[in-house]
């Protein structure tokens, strides 16, 4: 074992060992078992009419999640969550939290590192639409293959450690922070983009491909305005290398703002991923490849949504979101070096029983290789049910 490997092992194992050694014996371990399930039907009227054929995962999809949270002691807790969805079984959570104080919590295991505001709401039971905002799309978007999903498909569980905490300044301002080191996203040598499946349980191999951790952090402030309103602003960043030789990198940055005004929630997020890669010399590309052999692309994504509880039973939502990609890509790609997709959504949920809701939404899609002209329009409709327990 090399010195670097020993250091990495110590870095990961240290907080976990400290947590286990320092934890006071609990009189009784408190366990909380919770879960959610969503069944969605996606109807795309023109799903088969594209020249390239069907390019959407329409029809029925199910997402089921079971979560166990255990408070082992006043300072140590554990969380395990198992999901079943489009990729089969997935393990998005399996970690320990060792809490020294509210302001200092060590997390070790498998988890989605703190990035963005949507991360905490990614469970289908915690957002009003059947699908996710495009920057975080994990495969429900139209033409997912052309776009290789969103900027940062959510959830994005990874193995690693995180240090975070929360602190209130008086009764009005809450400040949260997190810094982390994880295995990082990956792709085989010669790839033009990240291979998301290699970060998932179905990738079959949960170890890193280059031995160098990725790192990042998030800071978010929440301001309470009056008794029923609050405003939240946050910023996140993540950096890592994705190839086995650690030659190529990705940098993801994001900013988010949200306001809760009475029964109305307004949310905005913007993400950008800047990535370097080496175009395959045997493949023709749309743009001239730099002499260095290293090329770059950027993928931007944003959403703005307004959600309002109209009554205790009905919630309505309007959302505009999109992706924009700028950079080189193989000549066979249907995307131009500057391409975008826009989506406009209206939808809502209706409670049919406590903890059980119908979700419905309609989406107008616009794809373009001539930004910002809306060149190709598509419609999509979701109808689903979601339950929690």
């Amino acid at each position: 074992m090399t010195r670097a490997q020993v250091m990495r092992l110590a870095f990961v194992a240290g907080p976990l060992a400290a947590a286990l050694l320092n934890a006071a014996p609990a009189a009784a371990v408190e366990r909380n078992f919770a879960g959610s399930a969503q069944l969605d039907y996606l109807f795309v009227p023109d799903a088969s009419s594209r020249p390239g054929g069907r390019s959407v995962y329409d029809g029925f999809t199910t997402e089921v999640a079971l979560k166990l949270a255990a408070d082992v002691s006043d300072h140590l807790s554990a969380n395990v969550k198992v999901c079943y969805g489009c990729h089969g079984f997935e393990l998005p959570m399996a970690y320990f939290d060792f809490r020294v104080a509210d302001e200092l919590v060590f997390r070790a295991g498998r988890f989605s590192p703190s990035f963005g505001a949507f991360n905490i709401r990614q469970d289908p039971a915690n957002h009003a639409t059947s699908d996710k905002p495009l920057p975080y799309d994990m495969g429900r978007m139209l033409r997912p293959g052309d776009w290789n999903l969103g900027v940062l498909p959510s959830p994005f569980p990874d193995n690693g450690v995180e240090i975070g905490g929360t602190h209130w300044f008086g009764e009005r301002v809450q400040l949260d922070y997190a810094v982390y080191a994880t295995s990082g996203f990956r792709a085989p040598t010669g790839s033009n983009d990240l291979t998301w499946s290699l970060s998932q349980t179905r990738g079959g191999n949960m170890i890193d491909n280059n031995g160098v951790p990725a790192g990042g952090g998030r800071v978010v402030a929440t301001f309470r305005v009056g008794e029923g309103n609050d405003v939240t602003v946050g910023g996140s960043v993540m950096y890592g290398t994705w190839d086995p030789a650690n030659r190529f990198s990705y940098l993801i940055a994001g900013g988010d703002a949200a306001a809760r005004i009475g029964r109305t929630q307004v949310r905005f997020e913007y993400l950008v991923r800047r990535q370097t890669f080496a175009p395959d010399p045997a493949v023709p590309y749309k743009l001239l490849v730099p002499a260095s052999g290293e090329d770059t692309f950027e993928k931007h994504g944003a959403y703005l949504e307004v959600e309002r509880s109209m009554t205790e039973t009905v919630t309505l939502l309007a959302r505009a979101d999109g992706l924009y990609r700028a950079g080189n890509l193989p000549i066979a790609s249907p995307l131009a070096p500057r391409a975008a997709v826009f989506r406009y959504t209206v939808g809502g949920t209706v409670a049919v029983a406590p903890g059980f809701r119908i979700k419905a939404s309609g989406e107008l899609w616009a794809f373009t290789n001539d930004v910002p002209v809306h060149q190709e329009l598509d419609l999509a409709f979701h109808l689903g049910v979601v339950g929690t327990f």
Binding site: R99, N126, Q174, E312, F381
Partner: protein, 115 residues
């Protein structure tokens, strides 16, 4: 033809929503009017804070029936990033959850048994 199909899809969607909305009076939270006057401010605070990230049905349907577990549960939520829950909020929230666990649900069970 395509346009007619699209209109039909949108019509079905709207009809499903409206039908469901009309057919149900279910709610995620509780009807404030059914709560004792002294509990209402605590419930209002609980509803305001705890609906920020998830539906109220989640805690109300959790089946938790003891104060210690509620205290751990609320404390875990308080520590969530951007939770908006202060330490001062936990008192009224726990007071409501105690009432909900021991009086409200017991009353409902009694009602059901008497029917």
């Amino acid at each position: 033809m395509k346009r007619a199909r699209t209109h039909r899809g949108r019509g079905l969607l709207a009809a499903a929503l409206i039908a469901a909305a009309c057919a149900t009076t279910a709610r995620d939270g509780l009807d404030v009017a059914t709560l004792p006057v002294e509990v209402r401010p605590d419930y209002t605070l609980f509803a305001r804070r705890c609906s920020k990230c998830h539906q109220l049905a989640r805690p109300l349907g959790s089946g938790i029936r003891d104060d210690a577990t509620w205290a751990d549960y609320v404390d875990r939520m308080r520590r969530q990033p951007s939770s908006g829950i202060t330490r001062a909020d936990t008192g009224p929230i726990l007071r409501f959850l105690h009432y909900y666990s021991f009086s409200y649900t017991a009353g409902r069970r009694g009602d059901a048994g008497g029917e």
